[in-house]
Symmetry: C2
Subunit: 762 residues, 2 copies
């Protein structure tokens, strides 16, 4: 392209712009909207553009005392002069593709150059303003953490406009909150009085940009002249409503609407959020491990939380860390705040399942259960004081802040409905209670991809039976405990299968280290010993032996099924009985999947499968067409990925557990990571938090290897993903690219997954 | 091969055997030695052989009332008849390639068949004995855990011998303990009186078999007739001496001697062992985590162990588990017994380094420090009672059992010396003290492949300085602590470099989770708080925050270097100063390697390398030809294996840490594994313990991937292995096949590695 081509009118005072294809490509940011509005025939202030390359060439020529390019530049400026023939005052604007704070604000009231030399002389007002505008790009470049490429720099442009006559007015093309089309007030200002002709501009810009735009116009005697516009970020709800409205008015197809909504922002609509945190300073920051905001009274024990709930009060459960004994308290609380733990901690997992906002790993929090008080940094709180937490960003505030409740109207439903037409990967959910299953179904879940069977033991009486089964040395006592547990769970499974009414339900066998289910603390140990008829001393000894140094890599998952076959037997009995019961009351067949967690060898899978097959044969369900049964395995250890070929021959499906796979691939315990992850993020060691977005280069390669080897060995192998990453848009695109059959995420991420996968070619 | 060929004389009464090539191939076990001795012209009792295939065909023919094959069989039996023409009484023997308990003992005094039909009729004595002999193979087949292949079964043979005249005598070709050639007593019997002509047989068999043989001969009037022989397992020392003796007498070349000694048995020579455990029943069994046997007085605290040591008494340190504070006590003890932990536990690692026998993870052991007593199963022991442990098999005995001290004479040195000629992979050692380094050098170590720098902080005063550095909030105090630590370590490094006199020394940067080095227990916490001028409550709070749920995957390795850069700085200062000091007193240049542990991304390596390079530039050692410096990384996480291409560009070498790599690849914490590993072994889930022999199919593939990607990205990359597997013969062969440059193992495994690698074509 010749340098003369890099200085051109995008909205000439008279006539058309007639841009070449190369010039059209240079249009970024405001210049694009000015050109489009002008081309559409709407009155637009005369505007010319110049690239950095052209400007630098003009300056070089000036030093050489040449004027070949200057002739073109002056000719270009002349196109700003209207029919009156009088050179207007000028305005210089940047036109960056991404708006940011370092850019020069528009420089107005620049006198027109008095000579041709004036037009390039940086000591004169026009050239000085242009130079400053280009310089401001350079400064802002570093702000993004990486230098701009030379090519990108060369293409940067600056605009010179004629100064418009009349009152300058700003407005939005759509309401930022509701998405309603028509001039709307810019945040914090009143809506200016605008003539009716503004509607044409609003429609025009909305259709061209497909985003909420902030516009600048000049109004004089009822006449509007367009000056500039830039896209703004509206509320998630506003964007969704706008998308539906554009489909309604035929600006967009349904497919376009689906492709243009940001899935990451959907999640914000599914939880309460802080109306505004302006004027409030967080007193501490932890990890936001379950999204949404919550306010309430401080409670330090599950019992207090339950008491407050019973009295209709909101409360925040504040604890050092949570364990199975705290489940009821967590359900009763409105939000959860812990001193320890991270994304995969007990608190985080349970909070996400139950949809409770949770901030975890607040290192400045200490809880004193004797005094019933806590310190957060320098401040002390007592039971009944008020706190607000924001589980989306990990902030903790003293007192009560105003919350916005989720309000999505019908727009989200419409967009998600349209999205299902172009989606190939199924979306399931990780739940194990009827209540959560119903929530997930309302969000469009197409099955359960992960029912964590151990969560069925969380009530006090079941916990006791489980402990009896594990700890009792009396054979009869043990059998009675097993029978009791089978009965409890049969009801649970039957209810869960019925709720899902013919959609697949995947039950993961008991996974966590046994000792997590055992009594802790003097009192609980004494009670358990008494109820089992064991000496306290003997019980303590056994508990000590079951304690582990690195429980995450300890006696858990398939290792339990192999060493405590009675747990496997009890679970399978309950699953079969539950399936039979559900099949007798519903029209659809019951689709049961059972999977074994934490395997590292095909031998482990074979061992469990052999026993499960034998129990299935005994159950009488083998040839039933009312119950369809399949058997699979979690793939969540590096070795399982490598040996996927062997393992695939023994199963119907793989379900990748990205949490454990990420932990073992990186050698990071997510619970312990907060002590160094902050420094890692500060020092830029990780591109992303791999527990949020899948680590494509490491964990991702292992998953790809496993899929390839697994499918090669078993072409019918079904592949799912059920870890934390399955709710993350970036990761979902990666998984779709690997050809997975389904993903499974927490209920509140189901809409996010539906939309993301509709946007992805799998 | 025709069936007639499968029944043949291997030592005919007259004439030569004249076996075909196919018949020679059938000779296994005793038949081989009978044939060879007979062929060599030594008087040998007439013997014929028949395969199972031929025998079964004879039986089938009998049922069909045919006799074509029987003609051959009778002709064969006729070759047992001597010049007298009188059919001898017969003996039937099995002739298995591997001796085992299920085989039929020789059946003697069988009358010769009275008719041709008699010779195949299973109701008659000869055919019945042959049938029983074949049947006993079948039974014993299952004993090895897998069915024999059909082909293997078909080739099994049974021998029919003429019954010899005279006294049957048994003896060994060499002394089982000393390896001296000449007839020697069979274990538990007296040496029979044998004529001098026996020497020719002994020499003949020793040369043919190259192993200690147990022989059976008939002696009559000073005449010896050879009946049968089978190899026996002599003591490791006896085998070694025999190997050297065979080279001396030119039966073997040096190379043959090197190839024939079993490296796994060498290790047994390097530690005391139980003379015999006969008559003693172990009172408990744990994991044998450091080989050798030890007897002594029970001590429960490091202080008691030190006290006993000072009084010249042997003691066994009996503890729940060990930590850094116990090091001095472990050094003072003769052996170590723990209730918790496994191969990679603190106790196991330190015991192997210091060469102390150690049994860990004895689940039936409980220690009561208040009563100063322990229970092992049902038995109670008090301080001063006597125990014996065997760290080779994990057995624990009450009382004192007799021990055999290592005695290798010069034979091991000779074989190892010969082995170095055919070895391509270097053998280094894992040590960090001058004492251990000297031991390793005496065993032939060619450098240090892993000096665990954190072990240099184990003395009380250094521990205090380290704690001061980590915990102090006073900047000056911290600087003083760092300076003190640098001084301490400079001396250590200088001494270590000097000891190794020009051989490479690889220093691994601080690896373990910080909290392992922090005070535990009331008293220690109070002392530390006082010495740091901190409030006890504040210190407790910080300690609680540093505690980890899964420390093995926590804040350790490179993560410490990134979050506590002062630790990195302190370590590098000491390494540089130590290298400078050593270089000033020795002729050879100092070869320093520094490596960073537990990396999962190239960014981590880049971060540390950048700082190390800057410190190196400041040290003034950069262009010295007296100190050569190289920088590398441990590869011990699955992700590091996958990203080896990126990482290799930033380092001079990789050192694979197979312990952590196995833990993360399998998702097993070795410390916690004992609770399920016993059941896994019983149920045959694992082929091998992957912490002993590298898991070739999983961990091995990751190592192979890393080597391939690493070398592709950096052709000069040096590759070493420094985990537990590097001392295991099977694993060493695998690593040699991957083309590694060196291995590094504990001092006591250095001879094992030297020999194994000499036997392996790399």
């Amino acid at each position: 392209m010749s340098l003369a081509q890099e200085m051109f009118a995008i909205a000439p005072a008279t006539g058309k712009a007639n841009l070449s294809a190369t010039q059209l490509k240079l249009l970024a940011g405001k210049s694009r909207w000015i050109y489009r509005v002008g081309e559409a025939g709407f009155p637009t202030v005369p505007t010319v553009a110049i690239t950095r390359t052209a400007w630098e060439a003009l300056q070089a020529e000036r030093v050489r005392k040449d004027n070949k390019l200057r002739v073109h530049w002056v000719a270009c400026l002349v196109r700003l002069v209207g029919p009156s023939g009088k050179p207007p005052a000028l305005v210089v604007r940047t036109s960056a593709s991404v708006h940011n704070g370092g850019l020069m604000p528009a420089k107005t009231a620049i006198p027109a150059p008095t000579s041709e030399a004036d037009s390039v002389d940086p000591t004169r007002p026009l050239a000085r303003a242009i130079k400053n505008a280009f310089d401001s790009y350079g400064v802002s470049g570093g702000h993004w953490g990486r230098p701009r490429s030379d090519e990108e720099r060369a293409r940067q442009i600056v605009l010179v406009q004629a100064e418009a006559d009349g009152e300058a007015e700003r407005f939005l093309t759509r309401n930022a909150q509701t998405g309603v089309l028509g001039p709307a007030a810019v945040n914090g200002s009143a809506l200016p009085k605008l003539p009716e002709s503004i509607d044409a501009l609003v429609k025009l810009l909305d259709a061209k940009a497909g985003r909420h735009m902030e516009c600048l116009v000049a109004v004089k005697r009822g006449q509007v002249e367009f000056l500039s516009a830039r896209p703004i970020r509206a509320s998630a709800a506003g964007e969704l409503e706008a998308a539906v409205d554009r489909v309604k008015s035929k600006v967009w197809t349904k497919q376009t609407a689906v492709s243009r909504v940001d899935p990451g922002r959907l999640a914000l609509l599914l939880h309460p959020s802080l109306k505004s945190s302006e004027g409030s300073t967080p007193i501490a920051t932890g990890l936001g491990v379950a999204p949404g905001a919550a306010s309430g009274l401080v409670a330090f024990t599950p019992e207090d939380a339950a008491r407050l709930r019973a009295r209709g009060k909101h409360c925040i459960l504040v604890v050092t860390e949570t364990g199975p004994a705290d489940i009821e308290g967590m359900k009763a609380a409105t939000g959860i705040l812990t001193a320890r733990g991270g994304m995969t901690s007990h608190a985080g997992v349970i909070a996400r399942i139950t949809g409770k906002p949770c901030v975890a790993g607040v290192r400045t929090l200490t809880v004193d259960l004797v005094e019933m008080s806590c310190r957060i940094g320098d401040r002390e709180f007592h039971a009944g004081d008020r706190l607000t937490i924001d589980g989306s960003d990990g902030c903790v505030y003293a007192g009560t802040l105003a919350l916005a409740q989720p309000h999505i109207g019908g727009a989200m439903g419409k967009v998600l409905g349209w999205s299902d037409a172009s989606r190939k990967v199924s979306v399931r959910t990780n739940v194990e209670t009827v209540e959560s299953a119903k929530t997930a179904l309302s969000f469009g879940a197409e099955g359960i991809g992960l029912a964590r069977s151990e969560h069925m033991f969380f009530s006090p009486e079941r916990m006791l039976a489980l402990r009896r089964m594990i700890l009792s040395e009396d054979e009869d006592d043990r059998s009675r405990a097993i029978a009791g547990l089978v009965d409890f769970q049969t009801g649970d499974y039957s209810a869960l299968f019925s709720t899902m009414a013919g959609l697949p339900v995947n039950v993961r066998l008991f996974d966590p280290p046994l000792h997590e289910f055992l009594p802790r603390g003097e009192e609980e140990i004494d009670d358990t010993a008494a109820s089992l008829g064991l000496a306290v001393r003997a019980l303590r000894l056994r508990l000590e032996r079951l304690a582990e140094i690195n429980p995450m890599l300890g006696h858990r998952g398939v290792r339990l099924a192999i060493t405590y076959p009675e747990i496997l037997q009890m679970q399978m009995q309950a699953v079969f009985a539950g399936a039979r019961a559900a099949s007798e009351t519903q029209a659809e067949p019951v689709l049961v999947e059972v999977m074994v967690p934490f395997v590292s060898t095909a031998t482990e899978v074979a061992f469990v499968r052999e026993r499960v097959d034998a129990m299935l044969a005994n159950s009488g369900l083998l040839h039933s067409d009312r119950v369809k049964f399949s058997f699979g395995t979690m793939i969540e250890l590096p070795r399982a990925c490598l040996r996927a070929g062997d393992i695939a021959q023994m199963v119907d499906f793989f379900s990748f557990g990205t949490n454990d796979l990420t932990q073992t691939t990186f050698g990071i315990s997510r619970d312990d990571a907060p002590t160094f992850l902050a420094a890692y993020q500060r020092k830029g060691i990780y591109d992303n938090d791999p527990f949020v977005s899948v680590d494509e280069k490491g964990v991702g390669e292992l998953i790809a290897i496993a899929i390839e080897r697994g499918r090669a060995a078993n072409p019918n192998l079904k592949i799912g993903i059920c870890g934390e990453n399955a709710g993350d848009p970036v990761s979902l695109r990666f998984f779709a690219g690997l050809g997975v059959d389904y993903v499974s995420c927490s209920p509140y991420r189901v809409p996010v997954a539906r939309l993301t996968l509709a946007q992805t070619r799998g």
